[in-house]
Symmetry: C2
Subunit: 386 residues, 2 copies
C-alpha cells in the first residue's frame, strides 16, 4: 500500500537529533477510526493532505494508490498529481496569480476544483477562463462559524456568485465549509453542536442554490473534531479532515484523541542542565517543534510539548516549558525543581507536538517506527513550500 522503502539498518539511537518520528501503528489506528466513523455516517472521505504532505501517509489514509484529496497549496496539487491523483480540491480561496497554474493542471488531466467566496473573484476567474475558452469546477465557500472566509448563509451573497459563475464558463460543483472554531470548543457536546452547525450551514446553502436552479452536487464539510463528533450528516456528500491522521496535543485537549494515540513526536537529546531551576536543555527548539502553542488557550497548557521517553511513553507532567531556535527547556509542569527528573546528558527523549501540521512542516522526512519499537523501518519524505 505504501511506497516500498529499502530497509534501514539504523534505529532511533543512531540518528542525529532532532528528527521527526512517526509511529505507523498509531497512525493506522487513527486512520481506521476516522474511516469507520465516516462509513457509519455514510459520507465520502476526502482527506486533507496538508498535515502530512506525504504520498506514503496519503496512501495509507485512503487505503489505495490514489483517491480524492484536499490540498492547501498548488504545490501539494502538483506533487500528488505527479503520483496519479486527479480528484483534488484546493480548499484555500483562489487568487488571480494562481489562475494560470490551475488551468495548467486542468490541461494535464487533473480535475482540480477551486474555491472562492465573492462576486469579485468569480468575475475575475470567469473573465480569465472566457478569454482562454476553458472551464473549471468551482465551489463556493460558506462561513459556518465566523472563523475565517466564506459567504454568510442567508446573506444574499450566495446567488450573485452562482449567477456570475453560470454566466461564465465555470461549473458550480458545490459548497464547502470548515468549522475552524471547533478547535476552540470547551467540551465534546460543544463539538457535536458545532458539527450540526457546520452541516446545517452547508446544506442550507446548497438547498438555496438548488431552489434557484443552480446544480450543487457536492456539499463538503469538515474538520477533525466535527468529523469525530458528528452524529448525522444528512445532506452532506463528503468530509474533509487532516490532522486526525497523526493527532496532537490540541486534539488531546479537546478530547478528540488521547495523548497516547499521537503518532508523531520529535526525537531529541539532552544537551545539559540548569539544575537549580530544574531545567533540562535539549537540542529540539522551536525550529524542530514549531512556534505553535495551541494548547496555551486550552485548560491544560502543554508548553511546547509533552515529554516522552525514548520508547514513546509519556512522562507525567514533564513538558517543554520554553524554546529557542535550536534549544528546548524541559521541566516539571509545576516549575518545582525537586520534581524534575534527572536525565543524564545524551539521554534521548521524544516530544509530542501541540499541532501536528505545524511541527511536521519543520521537517523534511518521517522516521517510521512501529508500535513503540526503536527500529526505523522506513524513511518517508515530505515536502513543503508553495
Amino acid at each position: 500500500m505504501h511506497t516500498p522503502q529499502a530497509a534501514q539498518a539504523n534505529d532511533l539511537r543512531t540518528l542525529e537529533t532532532p528528527v521527526l518520528v512517526l509511529d505507523r501503528q498509531k497512525m493506522n489506528i487513527n486512520i481506521t477510526r476516522m474511516r469507520g466513523q465516516l462509513a457509519r455516517l455514510g459520507v465520502a472521505f476526502r482527506p486533507h493532505v496538508k498535515t502530512s504532505k506525504s504520498i506514503d501517509v496519503a496512501r495509507h489514509t485512503l487505503g489505495a494508490e490514489t483517491g480524492p484529496i484536499t490540498v492547501s497549496t498548488l504545490k501539494e496539487a502538483e506533487y500528488f498529481a505527479g503520483f496519479g491523483f486527479t480528484d483534488i480540491v484546493y480548499a484555500v480561496g483562489i487568487t488571480p496569480n494562481k489562475f494560470q497554474h490551475v488551468f495548467d493542471l486542468r490541461a494535464r488531466g487533473v480535475a482540480l476544483t477551486v474555491v472562492l467566496d465573492s462576486v469579485g473573484m468569480a468575475h475575475a476567474l470567469a473573465a480569465y477562463a472566457a478569454e482562454r475558452d476553458v472551464s473549471l469546477d468551482v465551489m463556493i465557500e460558506i462561513d459556518c462559524d465566523g472563523h475565517r472566509s466564506g459567504v454568510q448563509p442567508g446573506s444574499g451573497e450566495l446567488l450573485p456568485i452562482a449567477q456570475r459563475l453560470a454566466a461564465g464558463k465555470l461549473m458550480l460543483k458545490g459548497v464547502i465549509t470548515h468549522a475552524g472554531n471547533s478547535y476552540s470548543c470547551k467540551s465534546t457536546e460543544e463539538i457535536a453542536a458545532m458539527s450540526r452547525q457546520e452541516r446545517d450551514a452547508a446544506v442550507s446553502c446548497a438547498q438555496s442554490l438548488r431552489q434557484h436552479g443552480f446544480p450543487c452536487p457536492e456539499v463538503s464539510v469538515g474538520s477533525t473534531p466535527t468529523a469525530y463528533f458528528a452524529d448525522d450528516l444528512a445532506g452532506v456528500t463528503e468530509v474533509r479532515a487532516g490532522v486526525f491522521v497523526f493527532g496532537d496535543l490540541v486534539m488531546g485537549g479537546l478530547g478528540v484523541v488521547q495523548p497516547q494515540d499521537i503518532a508523531v513526536s520529535v526525537l531529541t537529546s539532552v544537551v545539559g542542565h540548569q539544575r537549580k531551576k530544574g531545567w533540562t536543555i535539549v537540542d529540539a527548539g522551536w525550529m524542530a517543534m514549531s512556534r505553535d502553542r495551541g494548547t496555551s488557550r486550552q485548560r491544560v497548557d502543554q508548553g511546547y510539548g509533552v515529554v516522552c521517553n525514548l520508547d514513546g511513553e509519556i512522562l507525567e507532567d514533564i513538558v517543554m516549558v520554553d524554546a529557542n531556535q535550536e534549544h528546548g527547556v524541559i521541566a516539571h509542569r509545576s516549575g518545582d525543581p525537586r520534581k524534575s527528573p534527572d536525565f543524564p546528558v545524551g539521554t534521548l527523549l521524544r516530544i509530542l507536538p501541540n499541532h501536528a501540521c505545524a511541527t511536521c512542516a519543520q521537517h523534511d522526512r518521517y522516521h517510521v517506527v512501529d508500535g513503540g519499537g526503536l527500529a526505523v523501518n522506513a524513511v518517508w519524505p515530505r515536502f513543503r513550500g508553495w
Copy 2:
C-alpha cells in the same frame, strides 16, 4: 561578491503568492551599520548564519567569499563547508549522536569548534576523541543572564570542565555566551546594561581560566541588541549576531531597528473579505509567516505582522490579526471595521515578520528586490533542517 544569478524576467506582480521577498538595499544598510559598530568597538565579527541560511547573504555580510561564521546546526556547517568556509563555531551544545559528524567535518579540513557546559559532556567527548586519537576545539558556554544554557560565572563548574578537557585531547579555545534575555529588554538603556553584563560574564570566566593556567584565547559574545548597544567590549575578542542582517518587528519593538529598515517581507494576495468585521483575508497564513508572535510580549503587539503595500511602504496600524495554516486575517489594529482599508480581491500586500529567523525558515528562497523596486533581480536559495 554574491553568487551571480541569471537575470529574472519577472517582477513581484508575476509571482504566485505567498513568497518571501528580500530588499537587498535594506539588507546592505543593516550590514554596513553592524560592521561599522563592531569596527568601532575593535572586535572581530563572526556572523550567525542561522537567520539567512544562504550563501549569498553570508557573503554580503562578510564582504568576502568566506570568513568566520557561527552556525546553529551541523547542516549549516556542512553547507558552508561546501562553499569553502573553514572557520565555524557550532554554537548549540554538542550531543553524543553528533560526535562522529563533527570529527568527520574536522577530517575534511573544517576547523569546527563545538560548545558544551558540563563535565559530563566534556567527559563523553574526551573519551570519544581519545578512543579515535583525534582532537577538537571546544568552547565552554557561559550563562550570562539565566536565559538558557551555560555555566554560572563563579559557580565552581568552570574549572572542572577545563580540567577534563585538558586531560583529554580537547583544546580549550575559549568561552562563549549569548545574552538571550536582551530580546526582553524594555529600553535601550537596559540593553546597554545587558551588553555590559554579557561582556563581564564572559571576560571574568576567561580571566578565571587563565589565572588557573588554562589558555583561553577566545572570548565570544553576542546578540543583535547587545551588539548594537555595546559601548565598550574590552576583553571580548569576537561578536556573534544574526538577525540584524534582516531586522524584524521584535527588533523594531526593542528600538534596535526601525520598521522601515526591515529587509524581509512576505508577499501575499487578497483572497476575500468579511466586511462587517473589517477583515481582509490573504493567502499568507502561519505557514508563510511562522507561528512566531514575539511582539505579543512587547509594548506594541504587531499580531502576525505589519502590513505594507506592494512597494513595501508600511500601512499605518494595519496588521495581520490572526492566521490559519494558509490564511491570514488583516485588519486595523483597533478592530474597528470603519478603519479597515478596502483592498480589492487580488491586491498584493507585503507583511513584515515578528521574527526573521522563524519566518524565513518557512521558505526555500529569497526573491531579491532593490530599494523598493518591483523587479526580482535575483533568486537566492536557502535551506533548512538538520
